[in-house]
C-alpha cells in the first residue's frame, strides 16, 4: 500500500498556522507580506517575527513549513523575489514553493541544499514538464493544476520520480492556473502581476432592496437575490448576459472536495493533499484540517472499508464557496 499522503494546510496568519498544526496538518504553507505570493491581501501573511514563531511552533510539533513564493518576478524588480528566496532559506523553511523558472534557477544555484517544490502556478500538467524541472532545478515535488482527471494524475505519477501533490479541498475558479489574466482584463491587476486576483480595492458590494450587486472596478459582475449564496468577486464566477440569457458563462462558484475519491488518491500514489484558502480565517483552517485529518486516519486504518461520513461532508459543505462541492476535473469524462 502507498504511504498516506501528507495533509498540507493553508496559513494566512499565526493563529491559522497554529490551528492547522493543532488539528492534524502534516505541513502548513504560508507566504510573506508582499507580492511574492499569490495571496497578497491587505493584512494577511507573515512578517519576519510571526514567521519565525510559526516555524518554531510547527517544528516543535514535528510538522513542516512550506513557503510559497509563487508569483512571477516583475521586470526591474527581480531582486525583490531573489531576496524573498534568500529570506526563506534564512528562516529555515522545509521547502520553497516556486512557480517562476528564473527563480527556480536562482534558488537551485544559490541554495543547492534547499528543498524546492514546483507551485501549481508553475502550470506543469505533464510529466515531461515536471521531469524538466527535476533535471534542471532539482525540484522534489510538483503541485498539479486542478485541470487533470484522476487517470491523468496517475499517468503523471507513473512517469516521474518527483513527488506529486494534488488539491483536495477549497474554492475553485476557472483554473487556468499561473496563466490567468482575467482579473487584469477588469482592473489591470492579476495574481501573476500583483499577487492577488480581483484585488479588494476594486471590489464593491452594493446592497439594493432584495439584492446585492458585486462590481469589479465598476463592472457589474453579479447580482445575488437575498436567499442566494454569494461567491468571491472574480470575473470567472460572474453571471453575464450571453445571447439573451444571464448565467454563469465561465464558471459557477463551487468548491473542490475529494473525500469520496480518497481511496483512489491513495492507491495511485499521491504524496500530498493540499487545502486551498490562505485568505480564510483560523476557524476555516480548524474545520477543514480536522475533517480531512479524520478522513485520512480512517483511510489509513482500512482502505477497503472506507466510507465518507455524512458529518465530514456537512462540515466541509458549510465552509464551501457557493455551498456546493464537486470533484472538479478529477472525474470529468472529457480531457
Amino acid at each position: 500500500m502507498s504511504p498516506l499522503p501528507d495533509l498540507i494546510c493553508p496559513a494566512g496568519s499565526l493563529p491559522a498556522l497554529k490551528a492547522a498544526v493543532d488539528n492534524g496538518a502534516d505541513a502548513v504553507y504560508l507566504g510573506f507580506k508582499n507580492d511574492t505570493n499569490a495571496r497578497n491581501f491587505a493584512g494577511l501573511n507573515f512578517d519576519q517575527k510571526s514567521m519565525t514563531e510559526g516555524i518554531r511552533y510547527a517544528h516543535c510539533k514535528g510538522r513542516e513549513v512550506l513557503l510559497a513564493i509563487n508569483t512571477f518576478a516583475q521586470a526591474g524588480r527581480v531582486a525583490d523575489w531573489e531576496k524573498a528566496v534568500d529570506a526563506a532559506v534564512d528562516q529555515g523553511v522545509d521547502a520553497i514553493i516556486l512557480a517562476d523558472v528564473g527563480l527556480l534557477d536562482y534558488a537551485a544555484r544559490k541554495h543547492p541544499q534547499q528543498r524546492l517544490h514546483l507551485s501549481v502556478q508553475g502550470s506543469a500538467t505533464s510529466y515531461e514538464a515536471i521531469n524538466f524541472c527535476q533535471r534542471e532545478f532539482g525540484v522534489r515535488r510538483a503541485v498539479l493544476p486542478r485541470v487533470l482527471t484522476l487517470a491523468q494524475v496517475e499517468h503523471v505519477i507513473k512517469n516521474t520520480t518527483v513527488e506529486i501533490e494534488v488539491f483536495g479541498f477549497g474554492s475553485l475558479c476557472v483554473m487556468n492556473e499561473g496563466r490567468c489574466w482575467l482579473s487584469s482584463y477588469a482592473c489591470g491587476e492579476s495574481p501573476n502581476t500583483v499577487g492577488a486576483c480581483s484585488p479588494a480595492k476594486y471590489v464593491k458590494w452594493d446592497k439594493k432592496p432584495g439584492a446585492m450587486e458585486t462590481r469589479l472596478n465598476g463592472i457589474l459582475i453579479d447580482r445575488f437575490g437575498d436567499d442566494e449564496p454569494a461567491g468571491y468577486p472574480t470575473l470567472c464566477k460572474g453571471r453575464f448576459e450571453v445571447e439573451g440569457e444571464t448565467y454563469y458563462a465561465l464558471e459557477e462558484p463551487t468548491s473542490l472536495n475529494v473525500l469520496s475519491i480518497l481511496p483512489e488518491i491513495l492507491k495511485i500514489g499521491v504524496r500530498a493533499i493540499k487545502v486551498e484558502g490562505r485568505q480564510r480565517s483560523p476557524a476555516y483552517v480548524t474545520q477543514v484540517t480536522r475533517t480531512l485529518r479524520a478522513a485520512l486516519d480512517t483511510l489509513a486504518s482500512s482502505t477497503e472499508r472506507f466510507q465518507v461520513k455524512p458529518a465530514w461532508q456537512a462540515e466541509l459543505a458549510k465552509v464551501s464557496e457557493g455551498s456546493q462541492a464537486t470533484l472538479g476535473a478529477y472525474n470529468r469524462p472529457w480531457r
Partner: protein, 150 residues
Amino acid sequence: MNPSFTIPKFRLPEIIARIGTRLPQWPHALTLVAGLNAALKMKLLPETELALLEDKLFRVRINDTGGEASYTYRNGLFRPVFRPDREPDLAFAANLSAYLQLLARQEDPDTLFFNRELEITGDTELGLIVKNMLDAVEWPSLPQLPLLSR
C-alpha cells in the same frame, strides 16, 4: 476556548429589533469602543494595519437586536461617533449569533458572507484589513480558574 461548546445559529424574535431600534444606541458604541481600546492597550493589534484605519468611519449593525454602533480610530484610540454625519467607510450587518460565532472563532467570515449571514458594504479593502487584522490576533488564553480545573 472550550471546543465542546458551540454557539448555535439563531435569530432573535422581531419584536426585539422593533424595540431595540427605539432605544438609545450610545451604550453599544461605548461598549464596543471600550473593548477595542482594551485590545489596543494589550498591544494585540498590529500598528502597521492600525495606521490604515485612521479617521475611517465604521458602523456595526446587529440586525436582530436593532442595535448599531458607529466609531472611528484617531490618534491611537478608537472613539465612538454618536451622530455620524456621513455614510460609514465600512459597514457590517449581521444577526447577533453570527457576531458571537465570529468572536469565538467558530465560523469564518467568508463562510458567513457566502451564506449571506454577514453583510459587508463600503470600502472592501478596508474590510479585508479589519478582517485579517482580527484573524491575526493571538487572543490571550483565559487563566485556568481553580474551580474549572480538575
